[in-house]
C-alpha cells in the first residue's frame, strides 16, 4: 500500500492518467513545432475526428470502476463500443498522446495534447484506456529503457494489449522502500528471482510486472537494487488478493519462487534501479496528489452537501457543517490553483521535482477531510453497507478508500520528511 495507487475509482484513475500525461515532469518528448499546423486547424481536426469516432456510449462520466478499460490479454470488453473506442484511439496513438510515434504514441507536444484533452472533455469522452503501463512503466522506459525494450513494450501498452502491475513494496519495505529483499540471483543467462511483493495492484489480472529486486546484497541498500520486467505467466509467479477495509481487493501479494527472468529484462544499469524508482515515485506522487482533483469529479463535496444537508435555497442548514465545508472548499480551491501553478511551471520547462511531495501530501490529506464531511452530511444513510439504496454502500466504501490516499505512493510522513530534508534542508536526525 505504501507504494501503489491503482485502486482508483473511475474518475480518479481517469484524472490520474490525465494529470500524469499533462503535468508529468518537464520532459517534452514530442518535438513538433507548433508552427507546423495552426492551432485552430489542429483543434478543428481533432473535433471532427472525435465527433466521427467516439461512440456515444463512450461519452458521459464513468459511473463506477466497471466502466474503466484496463486492457490486457484477458480483458473482457464491457461493450462493443468500449473495444471500438480503444482501438480507434490507440490507432491514433492518443492513448499516449505525447509518446513518440515511433513507439505507437501520438507524438503530440504539450500544447497539442492540451487541445486534445480539452476536446475530449468537451464531449465528455471517457478515457479509452487506463494502465500502469501508461502511467508508470512507459515513462520509465522512455527515460531509462534501451531501444529494444521500447520497441517491445511501448506499442503494446499504447494498444492496451499488455496490462502491467507494479512490484515495489514488500512486507518489510513499505516507507523504507529501499529495504527490498526480493532477490535476483545472476545465473549467467538469466536471473533467478525469489521473494515476495505486496500491494501489487491488480496483479491477479496483470500480464507483466515491473519490479524492484535486490541484485547486490553487499552494497549499501540503495545501490544494490535493480529494475526488472517479469512476465506473470513465468513458472513460479503466483498471486493472492488482499481484502481491504472497503471490502474490495484491488491489491495482491505476489510471490516469486525460483522464477527465471531473461537478462534482457533488466531496465537501465544493474544495481541502479533506485534511480528509476525515485524517478517514478516523484512521477507517481504528482499523479496521486493531483488525484484529489479527479475525486472532485466523481463525488463532489458540494453535490453531497446539496443532496443531504441543504435547504431549498441550497444553503447548508447545519451551521457547523457549513463552517467546516467553507474551510474545506477554501483549501480545495487553493490546492487546485496550486496544481495549476505547478502545471504552469512544468510547461515553462521547470520541473516540479521534490515539490511533488507537497502535492501528494496536501492533496491526499485534503481528500480525506472532504470525505469525512461527506459522511457527516450523509448521516446514517452513509452508514449503509449493502443494498440498492446505498449502491452497496458506495459512499462508505469510497470514504474508507480515501484513508489509503495518505499511505499509498509514500505515506504523508515520508512526504513531510522529503520536504523537510530536500526542500527545507533541515539536518538529518
Amino acid at each position: 500500500m505504501a507504494r501503489d495507487d491503482a485502486d482508483a475509482p473511475g474518475g480518479r484513475a481517469c484524472s490520474l492518467e490525465r494529470l500524469g500525461n499533462q503535468d508529468g515532469l518537464s520532459r517534452v518528448w514530442g518535438k513538433r513545432m507548433s508552427g507546423e499546423l495552426s492551432a485552430e486547424d489542429f483543434r478543428a481536426d481533432i473535433k471532427n475526428w472525435l465527433e466521427a469516432n467516439c461512440p456515444p456510449a463512450m461519452r458521459g462520466p464513468m459511473r463506477d470502476e466497471a466502466d474503466i478499460c484496463w486492457g490486457g490479454r484477458n480483458w473482457v470488453y464491457q461493450s462493443h463500443e468500449q473495444r471500438l473506442w480503444l482501438e480507434r484511439m490507440a490507432a491514433k496513438g492518443w492513448t499516449a498522446p505525447t509518446w513518440p510515434g515511433a513507439y505507437g504514441g501520438g507524438g503530440l507536444d504539450r500544447t497539442e495534447e492540451k487541445v486534445l484533452r480539452e476536446e475530449l472533455d468537451a464531449i465528455a469522452a471517457r478515457s479509452p484506456l487506463e494502465s500502469f503501463g501508461l502511467w508508470m512503466l512507459g515513462p520509465a522506459l522512455l527515460q531509462f529503457g534501451n531501444e529494444a525494450q521500447k520497441q517491445e513494450h511501448l506499442p503494446k501498452i499504447v494498444r492496451g494489449e499488455i496490462r502491467w502491475c507494479q512490484g515495489y513494496s514488500e512486507p518489510n519495505a513499505g516507507s523504507d522502500l529501499a529495504n527490498v529483499q526480493t532477490h535476483a540471483e545472476d545465473k549467467g543467462d538469466h536471473y533467478l528471482v525469489n521473494g515476495q511483493k505486496v500491494w501489487t495492484s491488480y496483479a491477479d489480472k496483470a500480464d507483466w510486472i515491473f519490479c524492484l529486486v535486490r541484485t547486490d546484497r553487499e552494497a549499501p541498500k540503495h545501490r544494490g537494487i535493480s529494475f526488472i520486467l517479469i512476465d506473470m505467466t513465468t513458472p513460479g509467479v503466483s498471486t493472492r488478493p488482499i481484502k481491504l477495509i472497503s471490502g474490495k481487493s484491488p491489491f495482491c501479494e505476489t510471490f516469486f519462487d525460483d522464477v527465471k527472468v531473461p537478462k534482457a529484462n533488466l531496465v537501465g544499469e544493474l544495481n541502479r534501479g533506485w534511480d528509476i524508482a525515485k524517478y517514478l515515485l516523484t512521477h507517481e506522487r504528482e499523479m496521486i496528489g493531483g488525484g484529489a482533483r479527479g475525486l472532485l469529479g466523481v463525488r463532489a463535496l458540494g453535490e453531497v452537501l446539496a443532496n443531504y444537508a441543504s435547504d431549498e435555497d441550497g444553503q447548508i442548514v447545519d451551521p457547523m457543517l457549513r463552517t467546516d465545508a467553507k474551510r474545506a472548499e477554501i483549501d480545495t480551491w487553493a490546492f487546485m490553483l496550486t496544481l495549476e501553478r505547478f502545471k504552469d511551471q512544468a510547461k515553462a520547462g521547470r520541473g516540479v521535482g521534490d515539490a511533488s511531495a507537497m502535492l501528494k501530501y496536501y492533496g491526499t490529506e485534503l481528500n480525506k477531510r472532504r470525505y469525512e464531511l461527506m459522511m457527516t452530511a450523509a448521516g446514517t444513510d452513509g452508514l449503509e453497507w449493502e443494498g440498492e439504496r446505498s449502491n452497496d454502500g458506495a459512499l462508505a466504501r469510497e470514504w474508507l478508500r480515501t484513508k489509503a490516499n495518505s499511505i499509498e505512493g509514500g505515506t504523508s510522513e515520508v512526504m513531510l520528511g522529503i520536504i523537510a530534508k530536500r526542500i527545507l534542508e533541515l539536518p538529518g536526525g
Binding site: W199, L244, T380, L383, L400, K403
Partner: protein, 375 residues
C-alpha cells in the same frame, strides 16, 4: 462530584474486562461479522452478560435488575467498546430500560424483568431521515376509534430487526415536544421492517408504519408526555455510547501503540520516530480529557438525570472527536496493513463512524451545549 472510579466501579471494570477478553475479543466480533449473523450479536453471549447483571444495570432491583446506575453502565460500555462487542446493551438495556423505567406504568414495568434477564430485546424507534433530530419527528399517531393509528417511517432503529418490542416516538401534538411514545409489537399488522447492514458489521432497521393500531395501554408514559421520557432514554444512550466510543478510541490506540513498538522501518521501531511519538502523545491526551467528560456524564445522570443534558452532550461531542482522531491516526500509523481487512484497526474505524452518527453527531451536541451556555 468524584470523577475517579469507586471501588465498586473498579471491580466491575476488572471483571468486565476479564470476561470480555475471554468471551468477546475482537476475534469473536470478527467471526460474528464474517458469518454475516442476521441477529448482529451472539445471543448466547448476551445471555451470559445478562446473567452477570449487565442487562439490568439500569433496572431497579424490584424489577429484576441490579440498578447500578449510569456511571456503571458507562464502565461496561467502555469495556465493550475496547473489543468491539456487539450486543443490544445500548438499545435495550440502556435506552429502552430507561424509557420504561421512567414511564413507570404497569405495562412498561412488565417488560423490565425480561430486558434485564436478556430474554427480550426492546428497541427505540426515534430517527427519521438521515440525521438524528427527535424534535423534527413527523411519524404521527392520530386518534382512531378508542385508540390511535400510526403512520410514518423510522430510520436507523438499532436492533430493530430483532426487537421483540419497539418504543416508537410519534407526533401527537405540536413540535418540538409534542410526542407520545408507543410500545409496538413489530409483528403487528402494518409494521414493515427492513434490515440494513451497516458499515460496522451490525444492523439497523428501517421501519414503516402503515395504519398501525395502538391503544392507551400501549402508551409509554402519558399522551403528549413522551418528550421528557425520550430525552431521559436518549441521554442515557448518549452517555453510554460516549463511553463505548471512548473504549473504541482506547482500543484503537492500544493496538496502534503496540504496533508502533513492533513495526520496524529504517532499522528501528517506528514508535522511535519523534513525529509519531508526539502524535501518539497528543492522542493520549485527547483520550484522557474525553474520559473525564464521559465519567462526568455518568455521574451527572446518576445525580439528577433531568439536569444532565449538557454533561451528556459534552461527553458525546468529545467522544466523537476523540474516536475519530484515534481511528484516523490508528489507520495512518499502521500504514498499508491498516487498510487491510485482516488487521483490526479498520474495524475500530467503522464502529467509530457509526457511533459518531448515532444519537446525534458533533454539531448536534455542540449546538445543545451552546444553547445551554447561552451563546
Amino acid at each position: 462530584m468524584n470523577l475517579i472510579p469507586t471501588e465498586e466501579e473498579a471491580l466491575l471494570q476488572q471483571s468486565a474486562r476479564k470476561f470480555l477478553d475471554d468471551k468477546a475479543s475482537v476475534k469473536a466480533f470478527r467471526k460474528l461479522r464474517d458469518e454475516a449473523s442476521t441477529n448482529g450479536f451472539d445471543r448466547g453471549l448476551w445471555r451470559e452478560m445478562s446473567e452477570m447483571g449487565w442487562a439490568g444495570v439500569l433496572v431497579a432491583e424490584d424489577s429484576g435488575g441490579v440498578g447500578l446506575g449510569h456511571r456503571a453502565a458507562g464502565v461496561l460500555a467502555e469495556e465493550m467498546g475496547k473489543t468491539l462487542v456487539a450486543s443490544p446493551f445500548l438499545s435495550s438495556a440502556v435506552m429502552a430500560a430507561t424509557a420504561l423505567g421512567t414511564a413507570a406504568s404497569s405495562e412498561s414495568a412488565a417488560l423490565l424483568p425480561g430486558i434485564s434477564a436478556g430474554e427480550i430485546v426492546v428497541a427505540l424507534a426515534v430517527d427519521e431521515g438521515h440525521k438524528h433530530d427527535p424534535a423534527k419527528t413527523t411519524l404521527h399517531a392520530k386518534p382512531h376509534g378508542n385508540g390511535f393509528r400510526l403512520n410514518g417511517e423510522k430510520s436507523f432503529v438499532v436492533d430493530g430487526h430483532v426487537a421483540d418490542q419497539l418504543i416508537v416516538a410519534a407526533r401527537t401534538s405540536a413540535p418540538p415536544t409534542g410526542l407520545t411514545l408507543f410500545l409496538v409489537d413489530p409483528k403487528k399488522k402494518g409494521v414493515e421492517i427492513e434490515r440494513t447492514a451497516t458499515v460496522d458489521g451490525r444492523n439497523a432497521a428501517r421501519v414503516r408504519f402503515d395504519n398501525v393500531e395502538a391503544n392507551g395501554d400501549d402508551i409509554v408514559g402519558d399522551i403528549d408526555g413522551g418528550w421528557s421520557i425520550l430525552e431521559r432514554a436518549l441521554n442515557a444512550g448518549r452517555a453510554a455510547l460516549s463511553a463505548e466510543l471512548t473504549g473504541v478510541a482506547a482500543g484503537a490506540f492500544g493496538i496502534t501503540n503496540q504496533y508502533l513498538k513492533d513495526r520496524t522501518q529504517f532499522g528501528r521501531p517506528i514508535g522511535a520516530f519523534q513525529a509519531l511519538q508526539h502524535r501518539a502523545a497528543h492522542l493520549y491526551c485527547e483520550i484522557e480529557v474525553t474520559a473525564s467528560a464521559v465519567a462526568n456524564a455518568g455521574r451527572e445522570l446518576d445525580r439528577d438525570p433531568g439536569a444532565a443534558a449538557g454533561a451528556v452532550s459534552l461527553a458525546k461531542a468529545r467522544a466523537i472527536e476523540t474516536a475519530r482522531l484515534a481511528v484516523s491516526e490508528g489507520v495512518q500509523m499502521h500504514g498499508g496493513v491498516g487498510m487491510t481487512d485482516e488487521f483490526d484497526i479498520g474495524l475500530y474505524m467503522k464502529r467509530a463512524r457509526v457511533g459518531t452518527e448515532w444519537l446525534g453527531d458533533y454539531a448536534f451536541h455542540a449546538e445543545r451545549i451552546a444553547e445551554l451556555r447561552g451563546f
